[in-house]
């Protein structure tokens, strides 16, 4: 009898506590985060979730409007992305930071457009994500945007006059950057002397591509590819004493973290990336330290994009007078109106948005110096 009473009392207490928990959560802004938390692309999804958490912790510590995150796994799979999208909506999320990778993002964006849910992707860079959808915005550069910025940068800083290109023509990301780069180079009278391709990130032998660039006398080789094939290209170019300037996009970020990589090979490598953890900028240093303390590793570009994304959503929500009670479809229209006027001074630069959903920010060029990134001014 006594035990039963005690049990009832405990239950009642639990109920009371859960009630008060929901009460405080109801005032808070609810943001859904969707990305690959497991599987082959997990490194990106986890970085986004972690970066977002750092931003949320900072905002919540300031007092005022609180934020609650609801993180769901899409395993880098479009179908699971839709499931995750439905889950966060069922959980009462008001807006979405995501998804992280392009393929699921395209699927979720179509669904979110129908359902009228606002989404801001930290890292899905294909133009198809925002095209024809007023509710989808990006924090990262688009692929063509990167190609144009790279060509502009090479000309502005006169890094090279004869350009060789090695790109993966079976990959959307690599091809997207290359095509915009080539078009922009033609406008700027930047001479591309050799365009070479490969068709799989498992490709190991680049001797033919390197020889073509070398024979054409290229003094700068543009590599809009991921860092694994790039690491092989650097090693094989060195073996034949070919030392042009190598210039990569944000896919190159990560090459220094490659386990066992001989960092001297990357000495002088240039890359266009909006964020580098080694930057001495005060805001970056604060973020890097908080991230390291919480997760024990250096944040990458994805974490920084997510951090900026949370601040963008938070600021826009405040400007629009959105609170925890605003319905998601109402939130969507308010944020669509708000984003083109928004200005965020973030980790990845000064961010503003076009009404089409594309971000406008200045890319920074980094050079690898003594095994670390150094900013090129």
């Amino acid at each position: 009898m006594k035990i039963r009473k005690l049990f009832a009392a405990v239950l009642a207490l639990c109920m009371l506590m859960s009630l008060s928990a929901t009460a405080s959560a109801e005032d808070a802004l609810k943001i859904g985060v969707i990305g690959p938390m497991t599987g082959g692309a997990a490194v990106y999804g986890i970085a986004v979730a972690n970066g977002a958490k750092i931003a949320v912790d900072e905002i919540n510590a300031m007092g005022g409007m609180q934020i609650v995150l609801d993180v769901q796994d899409d395993e880098h799979d479009p179908e699971k992305g839709i499931n995750a999208f439905n889950t966060v909506l069922d959980n009462g999320v008001q807006m979405i930071l995501g998804t992280v990778t392009t393929a699921p993002c395209l699927a979720v964006a179509a669904e979110a457009y129908e359902e009228r849910v606002f989404m801001l992707t930290p890292s899905a860079s294909a133009t198809g994500v925002t095209e024809g959808r007023d509710n989808a915005f990006q924090v990262c550069f688009t692929d063509p945007g990167q190609g144009v910025a790279a060509a502009d940068m090479i000309v502005a800083k006169s890094m090279g006059t004869k350009i060789g290109v090695i790109y993966n023509n079976a990959d959307v990301y690599s091809t997207g950057i290359y095509q915009a780069f080539a078009a922009r180079a033609a406008e700027l009278n930047l001479e591309i002397v050799a365009t070479t391709t490969f068709s799989s990130d498992d490709n190991a032998d680049f001797s033919v591509q390197i020889a073509a660039c070398k024979d054409a006398g290229a003094d700068l080789v543009f590599l809009p590819i991921y860092y694994t094939p790039a690491s092989l290209i650097l090693a094989q170019a060195k073996a034949v004493d070919y030392a042009p300037v190598f210039f990569g996009g944000d896919g190159m970020d990560g090459i220094l973290a490659l386990e066992g990589f001989d960092k001297t090979l990357a000495e002088g490598l240039m890359l266009l990336t909006p964020f580098a953890a080694s930057s001495q900028d005060e805001k970056t240093q604060k973020f890097v330290q908080a991230y390291k303390a919480a997760f024990g590793e250096e944040p990458n570009q994805f974490a920084a994009d997510a951090y900026d994304g949370i601040y963008a959503l938070y600021t826009a929500a405040q400007n629009a007078g959105i609170n925890g009670d605003t319905a998601y479809d109402e939130v969507c229209e308010l944020l669509i109106a708000q984003f083109p006027t928004l200005q965020i001074s973030g980790l990845t630069g000064e961010l503003t948005w076009a009404a089409t959903g594309e971000v406008i920010k200045t890319p920074a060029v980094y050079v690898v110096k003594d095994g670390a990134y150094a900013k090129v001014d």
């Binding site: 498992d202 032998d205 020889a211 690491s231 092989l232």
Partner: protein, 294 residues
């Protein structure tokens, strides 16, 4: 002219990698009469073991190679005992499918153990490159070592199979398992030894492959494995010198095709060679024609 020569040199170094993998393929096929499609993945395991030996356990390169060979030898014997021995009387198709399954098992185990992030393989061979024609033509140190290793292994294998008692037993098993057993040859032991040697060679091939192309992932062995299989068929599967010749020719064909015809079709040339050989000369360049007596 110089660019042709340098493409030839690149082809030679790629081909020497194919050749050394093909030696293991052809050795197992020649004796056990089965295509061990998991060979490429044993190579990958060998490369991972030597990566760990150097990177985590701080062993010198020579010991790392020995460690990789030891692990691969044991792995080869275990694979043979668990997966292939129970199928000794089964159709060759069943064995082939088992081998493919084994290949996936090894790849996914590696994914579990070492993760999907690429590892950059350390430079284990410190042989300086040879520079000819005033630096216009460079022969990489790894290529020289790989070709030398190929020749040494080829000669050693040929001597082993023709001169030693175990080698004689292997040739007997290769010709007729039943008759060999009646002659008092321990067929199971012979096949185990074959797999042990083949897998030890795979470890050497893994180290040389990853020294030449230092990006190590769980799928590192699969494409080179399939190309080396093509090389073995090209040279005449079962023939030890054939594997070497086939491998080197295949590397040269791939590089020249990429350089002068189409960069995207590099892999297609390799497999076109396989189709042509099978159509025109199914026994390969140096293969023996076996007359089936009826």
């Amino acid at each position: 002219m110089i660019s042709l020569l340098s493409h030839l040199m690149n082809g030679l170094s790629l081909g020497s990698v194919y050749a050394i993998i093909a030696l293991g393929y052809t050795m197992v096929y020649g004796i056990a009469k089965m295509l061990n499609f998991a060979h490429g993945d044993v190579i990958m395991i060998g490369a991972y073991i030597s990566f760990c030996a150097i990177h985590y356990w701080n062993l010198p390169p020579a010991l790392a190679l020995v460690a990789a060979m030891a692990v691969c030898t044991v792995l080869g014997i275990v694979i043979e005992r668990l997966a292939y021995k129970p199928l000794r009387q089964a159709t060759s198709l069943a064995v082939l499918i088992t081998a493919i399954g084994m290949s996936y098992l090894l790849q996914n185990s590696a994914l579990l153990i070492w993760g999907s992030n690429t590892k950059s393989f350390p430079d284990m061979i410190n042989v300086p490159a040879i520079s000819l024609l005033g630096g216009e033509l460079i022969i990489k140190g790894e290529a020289i070592v790989t070709i030398l290793a190929c020749v040494v292994i080829m000669i050693a294998l040929t001597l082993f199979t023709s001169r030693t008692k175990m080698g004689k037993a292997m040739r007997g098993v290769s010709e007729d398992k039943g008759a060999a057993e009646l002659m008092g040859i321990n067929v199971n032991l012979t096949i185990s030894v074959t797999f042990a040697i083949g897998s030890a060679l795979a470890a050497i091939a893994g180290v040389l492959l990853c020294t030449a192309y230092p990006a190590l992932t769980p799928t590192t062995g699969s494409m080179p494995g399939i190309k080396a299989f093509t090389a073995a068929v090209f040279g005449g599967i079962g023939s030890i010198p054939g594997a070497m010749v086939g491998g080197i020719l295949l590397g040269v064909i791939e590089i020249l095709g990429k350089a002068y015809i189409s960069m995207e079709l590099g892999d297609a040339f390799v497999f076109a060679v396989l189709i042509i050989v099978l159509l025109v000369k199914p026994t390969g360049l140096l293969g023996k024609k076996i007359h089936e007596k009826v």
